[in-house]
Symmetry: C2
Subunit: 456 residues, 2 copies
């Protein structure tokens, strides 16, 4: 995947060299020769990834990185620091500033493109979750967006797969500040453990004797449960072909032996942070979905969702020539419950009522709270006779067992139901709902606690 890359270096020939390399691989390249210029470009034209020189006069690369990561508008953009000196201490400083990876000058093409592609791929995924393009138009920058590098990681759960026992113990011990480590000393049960779940990171040695470490990586990426768990591989210096393959498969980061403990800790924290950030975004999206579609009191779908879904179902029904039925119901004398026992008790009855609906309909049916004490069930591919059967069963289920008001009080409740079917009628949302509503009204008028079918 192509992407927009920002190259930051105070030495112009360095900028030009990276620009040429990246352009020849069909990346779109922006350049800056100082930290200040970089920050102003990022604010104006956010890139997909940033290659950032460490040693610059004025604001150095570490400080630029810190500022990028502290701003919610840019904290999600991956930063690769480019260093002339390859000292673990520099790498740790960079990781602590929020850098996602490092390249050592002179920059090797294979490593450069592998890292850029892998980080761009990750960013594209989170971009979909952040919904930058849509929210930036309407709401300005998204003020509830989590910030990538907020908070220290001390409670991670890490699966370590390493069959050299001494190395395994050293690694496990080094990771104690980050959290809890589960150890797999052969790799044979790695997949099983990872699927059992809850890990924030899987650390795998690629030199396992019993199994192919890359195979474990590819399976972790293929299985739904472990797809989003970051993978950090440990490789020998000689093993760069395997490493490149790993990055292609979806490995997120790597460490080359001999391993610097501080760098290990810093890289583990970066991965866990990134994972939790994406998790947070997914959770928010899910919560938004729930809040927008369900009724807070009963947990059923809300009216808005029900009508938009019914619209779609009616189109499908018309295309396929199948009938669809709608059941509209209203709890009899519900106001008396609220008046006698208060609103909390009323809500409890609504919840209990919603549960009885859910238990008495099929998986393909959709139940919604229409408002107040009114509920609707949409039954796709259902004719009037079947709908009446379901309605009668539901009516009986409500009548037969009193509703608990509190530990000592119960209250008998009944429901009136109106049914309308698309058969022989134009499949219009309004007319279907209106007919079901009229049938419900008739059921109320004829004495309640009964099912009436719209007949016209």
């Amino acid at each position: 995947m192509s992407a927009r890359v920002l190259v930051v270096d105070d030495v112009l020939p360095n900028v030009k060299l990276l620009e040429a390399k990246l352009t020849s691989e069909y990346f779109d390249v922006l350049c800056a020769t100082s930290g200040e210029e970089a920050l102003s470009i990022i604010a104006r034209t956010p890139p997909d990834i940033i290659l950032l020189d460490v040693m610059m006069p004025g604001m150095d690369g570490f400080e630029v990185c810190r500022r990028i990561k502290a701003d919610p508008r840019s904290s999600h953009i991956p930063v690769i620091m480019v260093t002339a000196l390859d000292h673990p201490r520099d790498r740790v400083t960079g990781l602590e500033a929020g850098a996602d990876d490092f390249l050592t000058k002179p920059v090797h093409d294979v490593a450069l493109f592998a890292r850029v592609r892998s980080l761009v791929r990750l960013k594209m995924l989170t971009d979909e979750l952040v919904m930058r393009e849509v929210t930036s138009q309407s709401l300005g920058f998204r003020p509830d967006g989590p910030i990538m590098n907020a908070g220290e990681i001390e409670d991670a759960f890490i699966l370590l797969v390493e069959d050299q026992e001494r190395s395994a113990n050293r690694l496990a011990e080094a990771m104690i500040p980050v959290g809890r480590v589960e150890l797999d000393l052969t790799g044979e049960s790695a997949l099983e453990r990872a699927t059992a779940g809850g890990h924030d990171l899987v650390v795998i040695s690629l030199g396992l004797a019993a199994v192919d470490g890359l195979r474990i990586c590819s399976q972790l990426r293929s299985i739904e449960e472990t797809r989003h768990v970051p993978i950090l591989v440990i490789v020998d210096e000689s093993n760069s072909r395997e490493l490149m393959r790993g990055l292609e498969i979806g490995v997120n980061d790597y460490l080359v032996r001999p391993i610097d403990r501080n760098e290990l800790v810093a890289r583990v924290r970066t991965q866990v942070r990134r994972k939790r950030y994406a998790e947070q975004l997914r959770k928010t999206a899910h919560q938004n979905y729930r809040m927008a579609t369900t009724d807070a009191v009963t947990g059923l779908y809300n009216r808005h969702f029900m009508t938009s879904h019914l619209e779609t179902l009616l189109q499908n029904a018309e295309q396929s020539g199948r009938t669809l039925s709608v059941m509209m119901m209203d709890i009899d004398y519900f106001k008396r419950i609220n008046d006698s026992y208060g609103h909390a008790a009323g809500d409890q009855v609504l919840r209990d009522f919603a549960q009885r609906i859910s238990r008495n309909i099929r998986g393909i049916d959709l139940a919604a709270r229409f408002g107040g004490e009114e509920f609707v069930v949409i039954m796709p591919e259902t004719d009037t006779d079947f709908a009446v059967m379901v309605a009668e069963r539901l009516r009986a289920a409500i009548e037969q067992e009193p509703f608990h008001i509190n530990t000592t009080t119960s209250q008998a409740v009944t429901v009136s139901l109106g049914i309308a079917c698309t058969a022989g009628h134009p499949a219009s949302l309004e007319s279907l709902i209106a007919r079901a509503d009229a049938a419900l009204y008739q059921a109320k008028n004829e004495g309640r606690n009964r099912v009436v079918v719209a007949r016209d």
Copy 2:
């Protein structure tokens, strides 16, 4: 990126051959030897991509594909049909059945992996939008999800970049049934045209004389505005290296000259369909976000959003040692407006009121409707003095200009405001809101239309 691939073929050696190839590239492979078996595997263990043989006894590949694409639970899974006969008519039948691409037996490795990787990458992106994993736990399959291949495409807007005029005219004419075609006869303004927007697809010839077609593709992928527009390239048979590079960059589909008109139309429709499906998902996610976070009457943030956002801001304020102020306000005698003019007029006043708030606060402030006629403004990095100044300005802006009730009637409105600042207090959400609320109460008691600061 690794992924789970389902291989469907009734001839076992064919299955085994593809399985071996894909496994050696670290894909996770499932196998089926009939259409029925394939459908049952898909229902149980949804793959990321399906390689589907056309010629099978019983249910043939076209029918299997139709069923996969008609089911909302599987319509988003890409299907590559594998055919022994390479006839345009077969390809068109397959595309009309919803297939995403074709491979001809014997299957070449490079083409196989390029196609699989490109489609898997696309699927991973839409997966984030579909939120399959989260919704499948709580709500069952997502009943409002759009179906990929619903509806015929006749209103697409296509940008065609081709400098051979005869070919350009032939292509443009062939695409008439699909929609409107904008023609770029050099490629030099392709990017500009595409950025201007609104295209459902860009069709680019890779043999342009004036510019490098691949460069246009990579720029389209790098620019935010065109990132999600599908690209279909037209290549000469000899040009397979360039094609592979294109797929790597993010080209979505291709056609090899000489071009079959029906296949062109079918491929164009597939791409447009896929694009609109992803657009629909993004739109839904955005709507969910709005509905979950904003108040429907005023368009301001809602109480739920405000409190969760305030929580975050308080943490930031505590860490940075900066003060944060909260302004709570309540429209004076609002009930009288509702009683005199009705609820519609009351809502109009609330909307107008919200707009005056928005006009009188800074970009970093956040305004929310707290409920009823009560509003809250959160002011980060703000001390009491500044907050009072903003509050006074806002109070005056409300008082000075009467609110329009309808074309002939206006109504003078005033507001009472309470202010609380974190300075010298523990940064707790509850206490901050309670103190602002108490100040507001005092403002009401002291005669309304005034600003009171919480003093304790």
